[in-house]
Amino acid sequence: MSGAMINVLYFAWMREHTGTASEQITLPDGAKTVGDLLPLLMSQSAGHALALKNMAAVRVAVNRNYGDLKTVVAAGDEIAFFPPVTGG
């Protein structure tokens, strides 16, 4: 069967580390939360592993609302990872 897809976004230095602003991934079997996605995401490249290794310094949004590692994810979701914001 074709897996359920989710869209993953990276911003600022996380985008530079991963080398990508946006990637489609297949939701791993049994993955229910943002935290469950991390092993797959970190395996994509050394840059991914570096970007995601300290999640205390990273903020998460699911479908453009703030979440955290325990936020539930489902097919079609947009998951974003980014550093603490510095606008204004």
Binding site: A12, R64, P84, T86, G87
Partner: protein, 149 residues
């Protein structure tokens, strides 16, 4: 929509006039600019990136929170993105109300939450060097103080 994210500069005078109305007695505005001098250091430019879609959602949510706390008439937020030179305007928050206390408080509240919650990131240029700005503890503190009120 009261929130605009744009590359172009804005005119504070024009924005201020659009907040006017028969019930308005007070307009509080805040303008953030690219500060060049940092003690012995100086920056020449910065580049702002954001999360389209989420930015507008977050700022609208902050506006709704402010409206639930104070009797506001108009609220306008303009935030620039892209590369901005030293001295350029970055952001404007403008609030109108019947009386000044509500306008002042709400403008400050919106700025404090925009600083911690709106998904913008700055990279600063010092000569050839470009560095992502780190989040400031003072901004988290400014955000936290509103929880106590």
């Amino acid at each position: 929509m009261a929130v605009r994210v744009q590359q172009e500069d804005f005119d504070v005078g024009v924005e201020s006039r659009t907040l006017q109305g028969p019930a308005v007695g007070a307009i509080a505005l805040f303008v953030g600019t690219v500060r060049s001098l940092r003690g012995d250091d100086s920056i020449t430019a910065m580049t702002l990136e954001h999360y389209p879609g989420m930015t507008e959602t977050e700022i609208s949510r902050i506006e709704d929170e402010a409206r639930s706390r104070w009797p506001l008439l108009e609220v306008r937020v303009v935030h620039r993105v892209g590369r901005l030179l030293a001295g350029e305007q970055i952001v404007m928050v403008a609030v109108s109300s019947a009386h000044r206390q509500a306008a002042f408080d709400a403008a400050q509240y919106i700025m404090d939450f925009l600083k911690t919650d709106a998904p913008f990131w700055k990279a600063e240029e010092r000569g050839d060097q470009v560095d992502w700005v780190e989040a400031r503890q003072s901004d988290s503190d400014a955000h936290a103080k509103w929880q106590l009120k």
